[in-house]
């Protein structure tokens, strides 16, 4: 449904994209993750026809985006990060306006508006001005406005920023429903648990390049990622630490806590506990940290703050 090949984009002297490639199948939810300034927004902006690339090929629903952007636009819906709504208009009038930009006959459009507002639980408030809505309700209407042309592909740029858990959950349910119905979704977020829950595949982008890509399981097994056993002690001394460090190289100490890193947690857990017990350490707490998307993301992109 989406084929991107060797996409490059430079803004003045800044190389925002250095030749990225990926494919997304129909009905797939593809998560695009990356630190600030990594190239996510540029990628989404190019795919949603806002920015022209310098090089590369993009095919959207079988249409060459570079030669026929207008045709591509008919097949896409875009959920912007900003709440692109007219606060002084009612939710219904907002949807009538956004839906009216596409070639949808008015009776059909009105039916779709009612259906979409019911889907997002806002039908009863449809005639209220958007300015009276809560942040979560505005986010839902913002998404609803991108669905009225029944797009084949939906681009969602951080659609759940700053909203209540109930609204977030409803948005998740809608995304899952749309995916089941065959819509292709490209989803960017900073919330790793969202990507874990919603995305079939994930691409991690940094410094204008895709540095890892695959299903969550593929990402977990592709690198030399290690799980960790975090053990807190009541009587940890430097001598204890040295004794354990002789047997266990991949180890970090934080005050009364030791972090043991391993690629075989099932095999190593009993050995670690046995060793601690043998040297007289008194364990107060054990915490096992499995590999998740957040640890993968941080290990690939680093922990340095990106404020750009």
């Amino acid at each position: 449904m989406i084929d991107v090949l060797n996409l490059k984009k430079t803004f003045d002297t800044i190389e925002a994209l250095k030749g990225i490639s990926f494919n997304i199948a129909q009905g797939e939810c593809y998560g695009l993750l990356g630190p600030n300034g990594a190239g996510k927004t540029t990628t989404i902006s190019i795919m949603s026809t806002l920015v022209e690339p310098n090089e590369g090929e993009i095919n959207i629903a079988g249409i060459d985006l570079r030669t026929n952007p207008q045709e591509c636009k008919k097949n896409i819906g875009v959920v912007t990060q900003e709440l692109a709504l007219y606060n002084e208009l009612s939710a219904y009038d907002n949807l009538l306006f956004w839906g009216g930009l596409y070639d949808v006959p008015k009776p059909e459009l009105i039916a779709r508006i009612d259906q979409t507002m019911k889907l997002f639980g806002l039908f009863d408030r449809k005639n209220d001005k958007v300015k009276t809505y809560s942040g979560g309700m505005k986010r839902r209407i913002n998404i609803a406005s991108a669905l009225l042309n029944k797009p084949k592909i939906l681009f969602m740029d951080e659609p759940t920023v700053g909203i209540d858990p109930q609204s977030r959950n409803l948005i998740f349910e809608v995304v899952e429903k749309l995916r089941k119905e065959g819509m292709t979704i490209v989803y960017t977020t900073h919330y790793m648990e969202e990507a874990e829950r919603l995305c079939d595949r994930i691409g991690i982008i940094d410094n204008g390049k895709i540095i890892a890509q695959g299903t969550l399981n593929e990402l977990k097994t592709s690198g030399s990622m290690k799980e960790s056993v975090v053990i807190s002690f009541t009587n940890l001394t430097d001598a204890h630490h040295s004794s354990i460090a002789n047997d266990w190289k991949d180890l970090l100490r934080f005050d009364d806590t030791l972090h043991f890193y391993t690629m075989d947690i099932q095999g190593d857990l009993s050995k670690i506990i046995m060793k601690c017990s043998n040297i007289g350490l008194d364990i107060s707490k054990i915490d096992i940290k499995k590999i998740n998307l957040e640890t993968i993301f941080l290990s690939l992109t680093g922990k340095k703050l990106r404020d750009t």
Binding site: F11, T42, S45, S48, T49, L50, V51, Q70, K73, K74, I76, V78, T80, Q81, E82, L83, A84, L85, Y86, E88, L89, D93, F97, W98, G100, L101, Y102, D103, S145, A146
Partner: protein
């Protein structure tokens, strides 16, 4: 494009503040100035001259403020992500600008008609007698001003900046063009400079209609009409270029 115009009109009619700025404030100014300047002359002709000057000058000046606000709304839409979303839809990007220009024309025409109807009802400025000429003048003034807001917006980053620029530019244009003080009271150099402003041509056009009693076909009157069309075309072309270069620039 019709969708865009309908949306802007809905927003306008749903916003009391816009109503006040577009219709009520100009009426207050016309009322105040008409009481002060419309009755100062020694003869009826002098009084009519004062009244025409007040109505025409104030209307054009307030109209420029209104269209500056319309330009500012474009920047609001850019800042709030609406423009981005519009550009992702299948509409032609130029239609976003054309929609704003047509909307600016509609609001300007309505604003000017209301001002003249008010001046007729409350101060006896009989424009019905000269209806075709007045309507032609209203249409060309609206056209001349329509691109002004977009041009201003293309030099600014936010609505607040547009408001700041518009206050300076409109007041300078209005004082140079004779909206505030009649041109004959100004130095010669100012009278020469006046030709660059919409206000000048608008006021002179209404003088031709009400004071010189020129028919619609008179070349002196039509020269003002053509000057306004020229200014409008120039501003609209600049607006189109600047809109593409500055406002549509998304990254």
């Amino acid at each position: 494009m019709i969708q865009l115009i309908k949306k802007d009109l809905k927003l306008f009619f749903g916003n009391k503040q816009d109503w006040i700025l577009t219709f009520i404030l100009p009426i207050i100014f016309i009322t105040l100035f008409s009481f002060v300047f419309g009755k100062m002359g020694g003869t009826d002709e002098d009084n009519l001259g004062g009244l025409v000057h007040v109505v025409a000058g104030t209307s054009v000046m307030m109209l420029l403020f209104s269209v500056a606000g319309i330009g500012g709304s474009l920047l609001d839409e850019k800042q709030d992500g609406m423009l981005k979303k519009l550009l992702c839809s299948p509409i032609n990007p130029r239609h976003i600008l054309y929609g704003k220009l047509v909307y600016a024309n509609i609001i300007s025409i309505v604003q000017l008609i209301i001002m003249f109807v008010y001046a007729w009802l409350f101060f006896g400025l009989d424009f019905i007698e000269h209806l075709p000429s007045v309507m032609l003048m209203i249409l060309v003034i609206a056209y001349a001003c329509s691109g002004f807001g977009v041009v201003l917006a293309s030099f600014a980053k936010s609505r607040k900046q547009v408001q700041g620029y518009s206050t300076i530019v409109v007041l300078v244009m209005s004082s140079v063009g004779g909206s505030m003080v009649p041109l004959f009271m100004m130095p010669e150099i100012m009278q020469k400079l006046a030709v660059v402003s919409v206000n000048y041509w608008g006021i002179q056009g209404f003088y031709d209609i009400f004071l010189n009693l020129l028919p619609i076909t008179d070349i002196t009157f039509l020269s003002k009409v053509f000057a306004l069309i020229g200014i409008g075309t120039f501003l609209n072309l600049v607006a189109l270029r600047m809109f593409k270069r500055n406002i549509l620039k998304m990254a």
